[in-house]
């Protein structure tokens, strides 16, 4: 897999755009999911995830093929998302609420369209609630929690993506986990 990616990156560096389409296909779900869980809004998530790929393409010549491409791509996406979250800060809680409601609306529509059994609707409401609680976390805890538990990355990879020491990643995960424990204990 890493070998294939390296080959495609070399092609992209030579100007082969089709090779980039393959890279987007490989990583789009992971990147979109990461951004969506951090931002909580599907339109914004799509916008940011696309921007991340476009920036990766534009800056591909600054990427060292001997390094792990996914780490570099995750870093671009995480930085863009954190920037966006920080710009939104004044109406942070309002946004979180809107995002949650939107999720629920989306789920309710799905439910109405194909008449899901009640327990599946409950599962979707639970999903909306968990998403809202993730969005309540301060961004520095939110990013590590999403990278670890949703994108399932190792502590070392997270430390490379965020460019912070592993010890700091651990501290943030501990605090994020503790906050989530309190927020989710009665769910």
């Amino acid at each position: 897999m890493e070998e294939l990616i390296r080959k495609r990156i070399k092609q992209i560096k030579k100007g082969d755009q089709d090779a980039f389409a393959e890279i987007v296909e490989l990583f789009k779900d992971k990147i979109y999911q990461l951004v969506y869980r951090m931002i909580g809004n599907s339109h914004e998530a799509e916008d940011i995830a696309q921007e991340a790929f476009i920036r990766a393409y534009i800056n591909i010549n600054s990427f060292d093929v001997n390094r792990k491409f996914s780490t570099w791509l995750y870093r671009i996406a995480t930085n863009l998302t954190i920037d966006r979250i920080r710009k939104k800060k004044p109406d942070y809680y309002l946004d979180a609420e809107v995002a949650g409601t939107e999720g629920l609306t989306m789920y309710s529509q799905v439910a109405a369209d194909i008449a899901l059994p009640e327990e599946e609707v409950e599962t979707m409401e639970l999903q909306g609630e968990i998403q809202r609680q993730i969005l309540k976390l301060p961004d520095k805890y939110r990013s590590v929690i999403v990278l670890k538990y949703i994108d399932e990355l190792s502590l070392i990879e997270i430390s490379e993506i965020l460019e912070i020491p592993v010890g700091t990643v651990k501290t943030r995960i501990h605090r994020g986990r503790e906050a989530l424990r309190q927020q989710l204990r009665h769910v």
């Binding site: 980039f20 779900d29 999911q33 995830a49 696309q50 790929f53 476009i54 399932e152």
Partner: protein, 83 residues
Amino acid sequence: MNKCPEHIVQYMHEYLDGDLEKEREKELKAHLQNCKECYQQFHELEKAIALVQSTSHISAPNDFTQRVMNSLPKEKKTISWNR
């Protein structure tokens, strides 16, 4: 809660990160068996993790790749056409 050693919570997190030493793990387990509050806290941590992990499946929209490709700088496209 006050009677519990402070490092127990730290051990819980280290255990959840998969880097608690064997000796300390024994100490943590022994403590959890005897302390209802800490057992409860540990259980809630595991539950929070399980809930977050249960949300993990979403995919990018179907036209995602096409949209990205359409937004790439034009000049590079020309290079690719001329190949």
